[in-house]
């Protein structure tokens, strides 16, 4: 950070357009990360104000006031109160909005009382005419004792003036709006006599910080006990009530002189649309239709770029294989690294599409309508309406679903949602389900419905039900303090700004690639290594052994068949092969042998690898689904039973339904929860549940076969 870079913080209520202002100022020069140690998203960016001055802008989480009730809000207070914090701003820009100005000003008066140079930006000026709002900026400046700028990020009005004003930040004063001591003079006298060097309002914020919320560790400069001892929590809350009344008195006086709202203006198309969207009957139908469309688009449209990516990387691997001398290095490059990178890049279309739609729903204000509609449904499971979108998203892929939980402010709700999302049936399970179902479920009709599709549908429901059940259990088990209060603002419906949507898609994709991507790549290289290396004669001499066997058999083998036999033999004697054999005793109770054991292990890289691995094991071409099926069907157990019978088939289905077999998901969970503890717990618990269900079902069914 250069020395003449001005530190500016954007603060404001949610939905006032902070992020839009941030985008307008910084463009793509932004960095998205986390605040150290916690999982609140942190957005910073750089903006050149004029030729000689730049500003480092931070987009703080939306907050209604400095009286914190959530982790997001306490981050804001921490940064604004703690002068030593690296993000502590030199100038604060409070972003307000024309329609809710009065409410926005509550936060403004609190910020102003911190005595940090502050200027007020009133956004969405483009809506004033339509809403019949008039603002007398000059009077408002005088009343609030600050610089006021009317802007619109939509029509790019006022952005330049904001930059100029930031350059001239020395002109801003640090006078307060209200005198906090007025709410209880005796109490504040008392405080002053003990902590004479402290500013009364900052002291008040410190004292009341945990009245409504348990903040994370804050290195309090003073002992909390000394401070709160004279007042109970209830008394403090009453004082906060008084503070709010005091502030509104000040605001009302200012507003009455400078703000006119012509109440007669009708609410227009937004109001009508809103009523339809949350209508008793239409509401859910529309929501269902939107979800269906999104999934359809994700499935259909992403398969095109995904196939292209697949081919591109396969081709690349081929080129490397052909142009390098055969050997370990070429294999590492083509089968390890390139395939690994391909395995990361392949997720991009799904993530990009999904974050596009979510950003669109978010930007338009529809998301909060959905939360409003389904809240009642989610409550029995200890969740709120805000968890619905990630859970639905999980049906496509758990990775973007985990990323979508960022919209849940409540940490406990968010954590539970992250932990249960992988139970929902993601698209990677589909190939496994399809092949097993076609093997073990008779192609018959039941009550007029095809039995096979019925089982598939059942599996989808099972995944969702398990997610909800797990949520209910976790809700009882996890001891995380939670303010059990539900409140969602329903912002007016708006036409989305595509610039904002675009930036969100870009940021989400980038953060997936740079953060989870590395881990996924590392893990896939490890799995490749274990599958293509081994010790002992059998592995090293695989080619000779197989060739001599072929010759001894005196049959006419094709060249491909020999090659497949060799890779089969190699896999069997690789590290993973030995691991498969090692876990055989464990998979036996679910009716499986070491071959499927290997597939279970490689599936950990990604579930869809299951079919490919079985293809290698049974020495058939992966493209040839029909042959794999036949091979699997002809496998027999030692007692002559089909290897894939109803009992073991159900066991596999249940195992894949519940087990955490996706390292990419684990990587993203690690990133979003900022610790290995949660993904490990998730992995252990899910695999255990899967194992118990699989073994249980096998043992239950097998006597009847």
């Amino acid at each position: 950070m250069s020395s003449n870079s001005l530190k500016v913080a954007l603060v404001g209520n949610p939905n006032t357009g902070k992020t839009s202002v941030f985008n307008a100022l910084t463009g793509l020069r932004q960095k998205v990360g986390n605040y150290p140690g916690i999982t609140v998203e942190k957005k910073t960016g750089r903006c050149s104000l004029n030729e000689s001055t730049t500003a480092d802008i931070i987009d703080l989480p939306g907050t209604y006031s400095l009286n914190t009730t959530s982790l997001d809000e306490s981050v804001v207070v921490e940064i604004l109160l703690n002068k030593k914090n690296t993000d502590h701003p030199e100038v604060i820009v409070v972003v307000a909005e024309v329609e809710n100005l009065k409410r926005n000003l509550l936060l403004f008066t609190q910020i102003k009382d911190l005595k940090i140079p502050t200027l007020l930006v009133i956004n969405m000026a483009d809506r004033m005419a339509k809403k019949g709002i008039e603002i007398d900026v000059e009077t408002l400046e005088k009343e609030l004792n600050t610089k006021v700028i009317l802007i619109s990020t939509r029509s790019e009005l006022g952005i330049d003036e904001l930059k100029t004003q930031l350059v001239n930040h020395q002109e801003l004063n640090t006078d307060t709006c209200t005198d906090i001591t007025a709410i209880d003079q005796v109490y504040f006298e008392q405080l002053k006599s003990i902590f004479s060097s402290f500013d009364p309002y900052k002291l008040w914020l410190l004292i009341t910080q945990d009245v409504n919320f348990m903040p994370i560790e804050k290195n309090p400069p003073l002992q909390k006990e000394d401070l709160t001892s004279t007042k109970t929590k209830a008394e403090l809350k009453k004082l906060q009530h008084k503070e709010t009344v005091l502030r509104y008195k000040f605001i009302n006086a200012a507003i009455s002189k400078a703000y006119i709202k012509n109440r007669l203006k009708a609410d227009g198309w937004e109001g009508h649309l809103d009523r339809v969207l949350t209508n008793k009957f239409l509401g859910f139908i529309i929501f269902g239709a939107i979800l269906l469309t999104i999934f359809q688009v994700i499935f259909d449209f992403s398969s095109i770029p995904m196939d292209a990516i697949d081919e591109l990387f396969a081709g690349l691997a081929q080129v490397v294989q052909n142009s390098l001398p055969a050997g370990v290095f070429a294999d590492l490059l083509s089968d390890g690294l390139i395939a690994g990178i391909g395995g990361v890049v392949i997720f991009i279309p799904q993530i990009a599409f999904l974050s596009f739609f979510i950003a669109l729903l978010e930007e338009s204000g529809y998301m909060s309508r959905v939360v409003f509609m389904v809240d009642r449904l989610m409550r029995p499971f200890g969740l709120s309406g805000k968890s619905i979108v990630p859970l639905m998203t999980g049906t496509a892929c758990a990775i973007p679903a985990v990323m979508a939980t960022r919209n849940i402010e409540n940490w406990k709700d968010r954590l539970i949602t992250i932990l249960v999302v992988p139970f929902t049936t993601c698209s990677a399970r589909l190939p496994v389900y399809l092949i097993i179902i076609s093997l073990v479920i008779p192609n018959e009709r039941f009550l007029g419905l095809g039995l096979q599709p019925l089982v598939l549908t059942l599996l989808y429901f099972l995944g969702f039900a398990m997610a909800l059940l797990a949520a209910a259990v976790l809700n009882g088990v996890l001891k995380i303090p939670k303010t059990d209060f539900f409140m969602v603002e329903m912002p007016p419906l708006r036409r989305p700004q595509f610039k904002n949507v675009g930036i969100t898609v870009y940021e989400k994709t980038k953060s997936f690639l740079t953060e989870a991507g590395r881990l996924i790549l590392a893990l896939s290289v490890i799995i490749w290594f274990l599958g293509s290396n081994g010790i002992g004669k059998d592995f090293k001499n695989a080619e000779q052994i197989v060739t001599s066997k072929v010759e001894a058999s005196k049959m006419n083998w094709t060249k491909e068949a020999v090659e497949q036999e060799i890779s089969n033999y190699k896999l069997e004697h690789s590290f993973i092969g030995y691991m498969g054999k090692a876990i055989e005793p464990m998979v036996k109770p679910m009716g499986l042998d070491w071959k499927i054991g290997i597939a279970l292990i490689t599936s950990f890289a990604a579930r869809e690898v299951f079919v490919g691995t079985l293809a290698t094991i049974y020495s058939v071409d992966e493209e040839d689904q029909q042959t794999i099926r036949e091979k699997m069907d002809s496998e027999r157990t030692s007692s002559g039973l089909k290897r894939f019978n109803l009992a073991s088939g159900i066991a596999i289905l249940l195992f894949y339904a519940f087990a955490m077999q996706c390292m990419s998901t684990l990587a993203i969970v690690k990133k979003e929860t900022n610790s290995w503890k949660w993904p490990m717990l998730q992995f252990g618990a899910m695999t255990l549940i899967a194992y118990i269900c699989a073994v249980g079902s096998y043992q239950l069914i097998i006597p009847y076969i």
């Binding site: 006031s65 409410r103 809240d375 449904l377 303010t483 409140m487 603002e489």
Partner: protein, 74 residues
Amino acid sequence: MKKLSQLKVGERATIASFEEDAVPVKLLELGCLPGNQIVLHSIAPLKDPICVELEGSQIAIRRETAVRIFVETV
């Protein structure tokens, strides 16, 4: 005097009082203060939560909160 939850959709009322511990500071700060106007804007399809209009903005709260806020209809 009525409970906020007993208002009809579209009905306007003045906030009279509330049980102190039922209403979080956050709601106060959004304008849920005695003497202020409140309108029941809409009710969710499953009857809960409800959406009220306060100081021009719409806020959804659960019924369990709304039954502890008392209003005076005009």
